[in-house]
Amino acid sequence: MTVEFDRGKAYVVDRGQPKLRAGQGMIAGLDVVIRHFFSAFTKKLETPDETSGVFTVQYPEERLAMPEAFRNFPILLFDDTTGQELCTSCFQCERICPPQVIHMTQAVDPTTGKPVPAVAEFMIEYDACMSCGLCAEVCPFDAIKMDHDFELATDDRAGMTVRKADLDRPVSYYETIAPTRWAEVKDGAYKKLQGNIKRRSGSIGLSPRAATAPKKAAPAAAKPAAGVAKPVAVKTAMPMAAPGKNMSEEKLARLLSIRAANVAKAGGAAPAEAEEVLATADTDDVAEAPAAVAAARPVSSGGIPFSADNLLGGVPANTTMAEDKVERLKSIRSGNLARRG
């Protein structure tokens, strides 16, 4: 039985006689239990006001529909038709994020050298994200939204740091998971996007996903269970969206080395490539990241103490790493700094 009142409704459960004689309570208890026992073989509980029937959802086979406001991890949106990302790199989400797991660099117009309202690289450390949804709340451009996909379990911790290429989802995908929420903000978001597109040039602001297959992006992403679920997809090679040097270099280099410090255990892969990765650090080709990781850390698997030094520099001084390599990395980084200077 339900009782309606102005703020909603309450479910009232009939608990039978309120007053029982000695022993009656025990029998009533046995009776309730056995009725549940039999009804559980024949009935499935559909609505919460029913008081009996199996309520188990056999999870991998059956799934509950997610409420629209369900939030797991944030994703970035891009427009289906133009492939333009909604994000303008306003840094609001980065500032509000409580565990500080959002990192980004703003895109720069290669001809004028001025920043444009688009993001060059965007990175979220899913492994530390606490799913608070504040980033989506605060975004003035409705560019970052909370995804519904929660089956992200993996043994690849490095893969939990997700970059733009894997954060991007077409708007149509978000519309499938949260239609009314998107309908509320849709007009404003597109209006702002139009204004921003005017200030972007070339391929700036184009989603890497849209750049490869603008038409196919939507259907592919519309099936969340199939492809999007795997942050491991970081390793898929992406075409470069922003050629030339821009401001992201130094930052990205640092990010790479942070990741290097974090992951670090992978041994022995092509150290030579690391310098290249760092040197052309604006690349979106994240497939190189593990190599950079491997290079930035010594091969030994157990000996590095965890310290701030490790995290920030990525080059612990007291390790077995070859001194010259440390030197080279340092010079590369200072070179980058100087060029930006």
Partner: protein
């Protein structure tokens, strides 16, 4: 088994040895499998009672869940606390579980299917089953853990307290039937409800003369069943391992297979005592049709009787699960008060009822002058009017014992409800001052 082999090969020590080895092997295989099925059964049933599905992933309907659990148990680390008494800690599960498996040696599984047929199997069951209390105490003491010790002390106190009403309930049945042999109980419970075998010549053996249909048997069965709930540490008497209070009681420091052995002992204890209760009170393997089947085709009858007896024991186990699904745990003082103030007096009165029944049945039957039961009051035999008809005597006995037992039941309920020593005047004064205890 022994009889069977001796019939074929003739008696020799080798035959005896082989016969007992086969019996032992069968018991040692059947009991763990029973235990595995019980864990599966309990989890499935209690899940349905709670509107869930229970384990259903491993094997068809989750039947292999117990195997998966076994694998888990075997691969778990075997931890012995550093401060524990190592040997006591190690041996305790065996001491707790071994006696339970001994029980299966004397409990008949069906018609002619008793591994060892001894004359005093009821006594054996009572005596051996209380040994496991030692194992529990060893586990609690050897773990060197306060929760384990508390749990063990609770377990021992509980087992000792509930042993007494259980034994007295069985004693009333022993008095009633005049035998301690579990194999004999089934024959005595043929025929019709209440009347038993007395009308054997008129009505075919329906196999329904279960003792639970007599007032003595009913009260005895209730007491015994409550006691086996308590001795097997089933809810509502799972105080020794009250997980919300003392972690897991005496099993706190046990992991892996040592824990599993404890657990197996507990479940098998429940099963063994359910078997005993089914044999003594629920007519053993009696069921309409089974006596005829046994007389026509003994092997098939034996099989069918095993199925029937097993079904009764599993039904009792189902009731245990049902109670577990329905009732919360008692408090220690409630538990003790229930055993000593209610069950024990009731069991004692039940013995008196059984004696009365026996008197009515035997008083001056047959040749009255030869009978040792001849007492006359003023030259008149007070029960002479009953004549020699067992049916009449049985009916009179039924009515009398029913009145006594029901009266005792309600009287004890009433006595227990009132706080001790409280007169109506006390109660009135307490109520006037607002300090009356709740009824």
């Amino acid at each position: 088994m022994l009889q069977f082999l001796e019939n074929i090969f003739g008696p020799s020590w080798i035959v005896s040895l082989i016969a007992f080895l086969i019996s032992t092997t069968v018991i040692l295989i059947v009991t763990p499998v029973t235990f595995m099925m019980m864990t599966w059964f309990e989890r499935r049933i209690v899940a349905r009672m709670q509107d869930r599905l229970g384990p259903n992933r491993v094997g068809p309907a989750g039947l292999l869940q117990a195997v998966a659990d076994g694998v888990k148990m075997f691969t778990k680390e075997n931890i012995t606390p550093r401060a524990a008494d190592k040997w006591v800690h190690l041996i305790a599960p065996l001491v707790a579980t071994g006696p339970v498996i001994f029980l299966f040696a004397v409990i008949p599984w069906g018609y002619g299917l008793s591994p060892v047929d001894i004359n005093v199997s009821v006594l054996f069951v009572i005596a051996v089953s209380s040994i496991s209390a030692v194992g529990l105490m060893m586990g609690g003491w050897g773990s060197n853990n306060k929760f384990a010790l508390l749990g063990a002390m609770r377990a021992v106190a509980q087992m000792v307290s509930y042993e007494i009403p259980a034994v007295i309930a069985l004693l009333s049945m022993v008095l009633f039937t005049g035998t301690m042999n579990l194999n004999k109980y089934t024959e005595l419970q043929g025929g019709l409800p209440i009347l038993g075998n007395t009308l054997k010549d008129v009505i075919p053996d329906l196999g329904l003369g279960w003792f639970v249909f007599t007032p003595i048997g009913l009260v005895g069965f209730m007491i015994f069943f409550i006691c086996i709930l308590s001795e097997g540490e089933r809810t509502p008497f799972d105080i020794p391992e009250a997980d919300s209070e003392i972690v897991a009681g005496y099993m706190t420091e046990y992991s892996g297979m040592k824990f599993a052995v404890f657990y197996m002992g507990q479940f098998l204890f429940n099963y063994a005592l359910s078997m005993v209760a089914s044999i003594i009170f629920l007519g053993g393997w009696n069921f309409p049709g089974i006596p005829q089947l046994i007389s026509i085709a003994p092997p098939i009858g034996a099989l069918a009787s095993a199925v029937v007896l097993g079904a009764k024991a599993w039904f009792l186990f189902f009731v245990m699960i049902w109670l577990r699904g329905a009732f919360p745990r008692l408090r220690m003082d409630q538990l003790m008060a229930f055993a000593w103030k209610f069950l024990l007096p009731l069991a004692l009165i039940n013995i008196l009822s059984a004696a009365l029944w026996l008197t009515i049945m035997l008083w001056c039957t047959g040749d009255c002058t030869q009978n040792p039961w001849v007492f006359t009051v003023g030259g008149i035999n007070p029960l002479g009017w009953l004549g020699n008809s067992p049916v009449l005597r049985q009916l009179v006995g039924f009515v009398l014992t029913a009145i006594i037992n029901a009266g005792a039941f309600f009287w004890l309920l009433n006595v227990n409800r009132r706080p001790a020593g409280e007169t109506p005047a006390d109660l009135a004064r307490d109520q006037a001052f607002g300090t009356a205890s709740l009824p």
